[in-house]
Amino acid sequence: MWFKITLALLLVVLVPTVVFADYPASSKYQLHGYGFGSGGGGDSASTKYRINAISGENGSNELSGNAFKLGAGLNFAQQADVPSAPTLQNADNNYNKLHFVVNPHQNASDAIFALAVSTDDFVSDTRYVQNDNTIGLALGAEDYQTYAAWGGASGADLVGLDASTTYYLKAKAMHGDFTETGWGPTANAATVAPSISFDIDVSSSDEETDPPFTVGFGSLVPNSVNNSTSKVWIDLTTNAAGGGRVYVAGSNVGLASAHSSYVIPALTGDLSTSAEGYGAQTVSLAQGSGGPISAVSPYNGADANVGRIDTTIREIFSTANPINAGRASFRLMAKSTQVTPAATDYTDTLTLIASASF
């Protein structure tokens, strides 16, 4: 590390020596310096350096205020247009990303922009948006991109962010050598906390209900497919980038009767062609936005096709994306035979749970 610092110091000290060793010259004159009164103007360059200069103007003075900055000298005069504050927002309640749009201002379409990001408005934390839209400590040449590469008017998502954190973003522009601007004004937006909400309802219609939750079949008609009188409804909302899932498990391997020591077995398949069985089938799927929520096979069957519910936790609904106001329902279906032992205590207890991938 100290070697690198020393090398940096040497380079910094040596550069002026090299630069001023070769001033513009012709057969008629030779410049002895680029300072005021040196006369003429032009560039000096070699394979190691390039210098941009103007004579007749003192480059060290500038005018500035809260809302403007007016510099002097050739570099300032040919600078790119300082970008206005980019747009930074969290319209979708994200916990790990924010959406930004670079404001190119008056810059040409081939101007390139760099973006700096901070969590303390650049007091002690300054990082840079990388060309993959993540945040990094270094600002490399590859991280200067055109307005179009930053997503143009649609913008892009700044990703890999911490939850519940305010981020500040600013931009600078460059359009050729010696044109890089200072940083423009900042914009800020906050990520939110990761979230998930889940609710269960039991009803024959789409309505909110309170526990305890019971779904009754009544008396099963033998050799017929019987639908439960009520449906099980779930509500799911999450901002998880990986979406959410709803699982179901039973307390038995079917509808069990303690009295008869018999179980109407859980099965996956077509109850109409099965002698006996018990399972679940999706009835409805909806969401306010995001998602979509979908039924997971084998719970997505039609007619008398059901999915098995037993003591294994099985995924019944899922969404691969954040979802708002996801609402889904399923019914239970059962079939008994003439020899299914009579009893009034056939039962199963479903446990419904939800999780999300953040």
Binding site: T119, D125, D162, G216, P222, T349
Partner: protein, 350 residues
């Protein structure tokens, strides 16, 4: 000269930046990256569930040598303060989770190595970037007593020396009740049918041999777990002739034993046979000993109901056949109206 001043400023700035970097003065440098994916699944979401099974899933994004995984629960959760009581398992992990192939968290410690309030630390082996891992916390965690959404937990990985590698916040929800009770009734079923309501002997009765009726079938179906019972009673306990006023009486007593017919004597007996012992259902048919006789024997008729057969369980159609067998003495008055009437009933036992 002006440029030289700028350079001196740059040197100073570089030195300051390097110095801050070396001593870790930039807070952002120590931030752990978010996992590519992270999740926590509570196998019960109901309030106050003790020793809840908690599935912890994470997919590393940062290359590092993991030695610890640290799970921090939100304030409402009960976390056992004794590390040994917070146990783990990778048994029964789902093969996939949210579309990700799930691998067992390598060498996850069987119990926590440390607990600090709501923060639980487990030791583990090195993880591979891009692989999703999971493990269950199997004991030591109790759900909050109040329902709530958006409860933020933290999953983090560290090196054995506690250097942060990856970290993500995840949310879970607790609800008042996560169970739905399903109920159903299977109604009692019993069917009982006679194949005919009259029967006759296949030939004229004879003093030199046993003559039998064609047989009347009885078909029984039931879902009674304890099966079924069939009874029979005879109107006369004999074959009576109105025209001759004579009778061919049943012989013997109801004593769980068959009576063998003897030629040239009056015998009128009942034999019951199993025609179908249905393979559907749990029951097995049994004929009462009194009436489980051969071609030359039979049980004694009674004017009171006598149990003739039973089924031990459910059946979709057991069939028994009732056969009368008779012989007569050589001096039995001739007539064509010898008759008796049976009453056959059944019931299921649920």
């Amino acid at each position: 000269m002006i440029i030289n001043k700028h350079k001196r400023f740059k040197i100073y700035f570089i030195a300051v930046v390097v110095g801050l970097t070396v001593v870790g003065g930039l807070p952002s440098l120590t931030n752990a990256a978010n996992f590519t994916a992270a999740s926590m699944r509570l196998n019960r979401m109901k309030v106050s569930i003790a020793n809840n099974q908690v599935l912890v899933v994470a997919k590393p994004i940062t290359a590092g040598t993991e030695g610890k995984v640290v799970v921090t629960f939100s304030s409402g959760f009960g976390v056992d303060s004794t590390p040994a009581n917070i146990t783990t398992s990778v048994s029964g992990l789902p093969s996939t989770y949210g579309g990700l192939a799930l691998s067992a968290w390598p060498t996850i410690s069987a119990a926590a190595s440390a607990v600090d309030s709501k923060t639980v630390t487990f030791t583990c082996g090195d993880l591979s970037v891009g692989t999703a891992y999971g493990f269950f916390i199997t004991a030591g965690i109790t759900n909050p007593s109040g329902a709530g959404n958006n409860l933020v937990q933290t999953i983090a990985t560290k090196t054995a020396a506690d250097a942060a590698i990856d970290s993500s916040q995840v949310a879970v929800a607790i609800i008042t009740d996560d169970e739905v009770v399903i109920t159903a009734t299977v109604p009692p079923i019993f069917s009982f049918a006679l194949g005919a309501n009259s029967d006759s002997f296949t030939a004229n009765l004879s003093s030199s041999g046993v003559v039998s009726t064609n047989g009347v079938t009885v078909t029984i179906g039931t879902n009674g777990t304890n099966g079924w019972i069939a009874w029979l009673k005879s109107a006369n306990a004999a074959l009576n002739s109105a025209t001759t006023s004579q009778a061919i009486a049943t012989q013997g007593t109801v004593d769980d034993a068959c009576t063998t017919l003897v030629n040239n004597n009056d015998y009128y007996q009942l034999d019951t046979n199993i025609t179908t012992d249905s393979a559907v259902g749990s029951g097995t048919v049994a004929i009462a000993d009194e009436y489980d006789c051969g071609a030359s024997a039979g049980g004694t008729f009674s004017t009171a109901f006598q149990e003739i057969a039973t089924g031990s369980g459910t059946t979709d159609g057991d069939v028994i056949t009732l056969v009368a067998r008779a012989t007569i003495s050589a001096i039995k008055a001739a007539a064509a109206d010898y008759t008796d009437t049976w009453t056959v009933i059944g019931a299921a036992n649920f």
